[in-house]
């Protein structure tokens, strides 16, 4: 590599390494998004058709009742999932932060569902919530003969079973993030508060929790992101049913793209999902990147 060519090459190596990876990102992320956006403005059905047809697919999408079901399910799931995970996560983090000797063991138990696939979680909860053999049977044997629990197959309540399983899987994650945040609060500050005679409760409410605002922000964003993308859990737990009662945008898109061969409509729904994510993530990323 002593030659001039060698040195010139060496000087450009970093760029030579980064360029193909960056190009891959430009093609497979941005290029593909553009393709999908384009297709969403066409009449494409089984095969892509590149002639623009205006907002046709978006009009079809918004006049499809199933899309409205998917959206309202997303809102229900999103709200409940985020709020419950936040509450459980925060509670557990605060409790675990009380100098507990077996904290490591407890934390491991709280967090292991995060290592599971949503498909596994869905499979287990499908069995636990099984009308007849599941919780219902347990209650009957405990003497509550009249107990009925058929949410899994009840179109009005099935979406809440998705919430139950989702919260079980992800609340430990929220706990871990909050705990990391609590641990980063300066010990000196807490000591000073104690010396000033502030009770532990007061210290938490007035000092610790306000300092957790950025962590809270991150957790909300991460959970929201999980909620919007949720697909596996719904497929494994309810299969989107009964009927399409537990459809979400992600399962809607999949079924119109791969089962019904409605490329244009599927693309339009994917674009709607992308817009939602962008609305949440971009301001967050922007503020995060500016901080570092």
């Amino acid at each position: 590599m002593g030659s001039r060519f060698g040195r010139a090459l060496e000087k450009r190596l970093p760029l030579i390494v980064v360029s193909p990876l960056f190009a891959a990102s430009l093609i497979f992320v941005y290029g593909f998004i553009l393709w999908t956006v384009w297709i969403s403005f066409t009449r494409s059905r089984v095969l892509p058709n590149y002639d623009l047809a205006g907002l046709l697919q978006y009009e079809r999408l918004w006049s499809t009742p199933r899309w409205h079901v998917a959206l309202s399910n997303l809102v229900i799931f999103w709200l409940l999932f985020v709020v419950l995970c936040l509450m459980i996560g925060m509670l557990l983090a605060i409790l675990l932060d009380q100098r507990i000797r077996i904290e490591g063991v407890i934390r491991t138990i709280y967090l292991y569902p995060m290592a599971l696939s949503f498909v596994v979680t869905g499979t287990v909860w499908k069995w636990i919530l099984n009308p007849g053999l599941g919780i219902e049977r347990v209650m009957h044997q405990a003497g509550l003969e009249g107990f009925r629990f058929d949410w899994l197959v009840n179109p009005d309540y099935a979406i809440y079973t998705v919430v139950i399983a989702g919260v079980w899987q992800s609340s430990g994650y929220a706990m871990a993030l909050f705990l990391a945040g609590l641990r980063s609060v300066d010990d000196e500050l807490l000591k000073a508060a104690a010396i000033d005679g502030a009770s532990p409760l007061r210290t938490y409410m007035r000092i610790v929790l306000p300092m957790m605002r950025p962590v809270l922000m991150s957790v909300v964003i991460i959970l929201s992101h999980l909620a919007i993308k949720s697909f596996d859990l719904v497929v494994a737990l309810t299969g989107g049913g009964p009927g399409y009662a537990t459809d979400m945008p992600a399962t809607f898109m999949y079924s119109f793209a791969f089962q019904r061969s409605e490329l244009g409509l599927a693309a339009a729904s994917a674009v709607m999902m992308l817009m939602t994510v962008i609305a949440i993530i971009v301001p967050y990323l922007y503020s995060e990147l500016r901080r570092t």
Partner: protein
């Protein structure tokens, strides 16, 4: 002494009560998280007759491993009745190369972006980072077509390709954040000694990034093993990864519903990531919080 303990006592009582309450709540949540695991394991060890008679929460009367054998070797996934075994192998063949390649490229990329003056490094990074957040529904259709044109549709190499491409954003992010904390002086000193871009990377930077490598490998392994969307969208039948096969086993509607086989299958599909979590839990948590603090 006596006096002091006398004064402190009421407070001590309150404190004991507080601790008891604290552990009661913590214990209750332990039960909450563990019950599904217990149900899964105990159901998988029961016979179908025992399942129909008893309840979810009853432990198995005798250990019966038939459901496990069936889930592994002969359960029906669609029309094929070879159990989960071939799909488990598919997942292994998918996850190993995908994790290694995406981690290696992420390390190289993060190193080039932080330790060498690549023009526009920050912009490049910000643009690539976005790829970690997009809902993948937005790339499913063009990717399916691209895989078809590359002759990779419905194959394991196709899945490796997809996971590598979309794993890059996270691996780059993680290594970039790690390398930012590494002093530039080491790289500059090595440069003065005549070491080049790859020399410094392989002999100096990689050996010191073992912790970052471990966290990234664990994270990528978990993500890719547990993936369902790419698996179901880009593979068919024989090339399905284990998560898709599990879903097919559970939702195959022919014949008698065998809950014990379903549960054994679920455990088999979950075992690799659970094992990683148990062995390397601390690293796993670091990956989670790194995944959280993107940027």
């Amino acid at each position: 002494m006596k006096q002091v303990s006398g004064i402190v006592r009421p407070k001590g009582w309150a404190r004991t009560l507080q601790r008891v309450l604290l552990f009661a709540v913590l214990g209750l949540f332990c039960v909450y998280y563990l019950v599904p695991l217990f149900v899964m394991v105990s159901t998988s060890l029961k016979s179908l007759a025992e399942i129909r008679e008893g309840t979810l929460l009853a432990p198995p009367r005798a250990i019966n491993t038939e459901a496990w054998a069936k889930a592994w070797r002969s359960a029906c996934v669609g029309v094929r009745c070879n159990g989960l075994q071939p799909y488990f192998v598919n997942s292994v063949l998918m996850v190993v190369p995908a994790v290694l390649i995406s981690t290696f490229l992420g390390a190289l990329n993060g190193y080039a972006l932080t330790k060498w003056r690549v023009r526009g490094a920050d912009t490049i990074f910000a643009l690539m980072l976005f790829g970690a957040f997009i809902p993948f529904q937005v790339i499913l259709l063009p990717m399916a077509r691209t895989l078809g044109e590359l002759g990779l549709a419905g194959t394991i190499p196709g899945l490796v390709f997809v996971h590598t491409i979309y794993g890059l954003a996270f691996t780059t992010l993680f290594f970039r954040n790690f390398f930012i904390g590494v002093s530039n002086g080491i790289v500059q000193a090595a440069q003065i000694d005549g070491a080049g871009f790859f020399g410094i990377f392989f002999r100096i930077v990689l050996p010191m990034s073992i912790p970052a490598i471990v966290v990234t490998v664990i994270w990528q392994f978990t993500q890719i093993w547990n993936d369902f969307l790419f698996g179901i969208a880009f593979t068919v039948g024989e090339s399905n990864p284990v998560t898709v096969a599990l879903n097919n086993v559970v939702n195959t509607s022919t014949g008698v519903k065998e809950y014990n086989v379903d549960m054994a299958a679920a455990i088999i599909a979950a075992l690799p990531t659970l094992a990683v979590y148990v062995v390397a839990g601390a690293w796993f948590v670091r990956g989670l919080s790194a995944g959280a603090v993107k940027g």
